[in-house]
Symmetry: C2
């Protein structure tokens, strides 16, 4: 029991930072203040990726602000490799957009360089233990940004303005099939009605949505919460 805990603590770490002074500072800090094993360091993202493939560390500390290939892209690439590496992002700024994007692409933690050394060790500890760690202040920032991005999305159009609300139930069914890229004939078969009827519905839909063709109708539906209930869908 004790052994396995100790074993877990001896997680191997790779540090990536284009500033050599920062790099060695963090390295020393970790070596002195913690049990972690810094197996390698890198001053560029591309070198880092090679090292990660070679050493397969448990933890990577990745500076976000780097020239050439930036840290976020690097994180995305590493995550794509699916090596089980757990990445902690590291920057000087608490820009919510950066935090959001880092967490989105799979960073397991996000730390500011200005934070106390104990916080860094704690973060590594938590992440090494399989958790996701964001300091309270950053997590607060994240959520504000997160909620804001929703408000703009969903609350931008009120119910009265959302033309989708004026569609009848049958028209919604037809539109639903249209958003799956089905032709008049196909819709007619699916709904057991004639092609002409479908055309009538489609025409009514166009008028209500104030569009001229199915592509625009589909786009309107997608942009105004028509099939939102289906699945979580996030994109930047």
């Amino acid at each position: 029991m004790r052994r396995s805990l100790d074993f877990k603590k001896k997680a191997r770490v790779i540090i990536v930072d284009d500033n050599y002074d920062h790099l060695s500072g963090i390295k020393e800090l970790i070596e002195i203040e913690s049990d972690f094993d810094v197996v390698a360091t890198a001053t560029s993202a591309s070198v880092a990726i090679s090292l990660i493939k070679k050493y397969r560390p448990e933890i990577v500390l990745m500076d976000i602000n780097m020239p050439e290939k930036d840290g976020l892209t690097a994180i995305a690439e590493i995550e794509k490799l699916d090596l089980g590496v757990r990445i902690i992002a590291l920057t000087g700024y608490d820009d919510p957009d950066l935090i959001f994007r880092a967490m989105k692409i799979g960073a397991k933690g996000y730390i500011l360089k200005t934070m106390a050394s104990a916080q860094l060790i704690y973060a590594i500890d938590e992440v090494a233990a399989g958790k996701i760690y964001l300091p309270a202040t950053l997590s607060s920032r994240f959520f504000e940004y997160f909620q804001q991005s929703f408000k703009e999305e969903t609350q931008s159009v009120s119910d009265e303005e959302n033309l989708l609300n004026y569609l009848t139930q049958r028209e919604e069914e037809v539109l639903d099939l249209l958003t799956q890229g089905i032709t008049y004939k196909g819709v007619a078969q699916k709904l057991f009605i004639s092609e002409t009827t479908v055309k009538t519905h489609v025409n009514n839909i166009f008028q209500k949505l104030q569009v001229n063709d199915r592509t625009q109708a589909v786009l309107y539906a997608l942009n105004n919460g028509f099939l939102n209930r289906r699945k979580v869908k996030i994109a930047i």
Copy 2:
């Protein structure tokens, strides 16, 4: 300075919980352990909404598990009123999906009923001060769910499988215009080429994406990260 802090602390609170015992328990706790002013309580969401309109509290504690109108819907409705009320969700379960949805629709905090009373007071404190508060354990859950929902979305298709990657630059431009619901003629004008050329490109796009018409092409593009860079877009 001191006064304004004290003033802030005297935030008015409304508590909503269909279980009367819980309700009065929380009420007592807040009245004894904190400076907050419980101006009203409600055992149903609809009553709560009326009370909120009447009292305009700073804080609402909202139980999520309620019959009739559930707490999440209630939160969404209250947020839509845009009264500046700050809502803290309250449940017995740390279901990540619930947490995610609560935060999505604008809850400023999320607390488990099993948590220590001090934690509840602290949460109200933070939220009353304008912050968003999630206890570390819940925030961890949230992030796991958050990242998972991405992985399914973005990593579901590898680069080789994503047929969009086989499009030439010109074809991408054409597709981009198609996803805006523009006709052959319109595309031709925008790109300063003939309508025939557009048709050729479109046909090539269809073959590469293995679809039969523009609607399907647009849907494929939308579902496979074609215009993802534009805006944050989240939906459930």
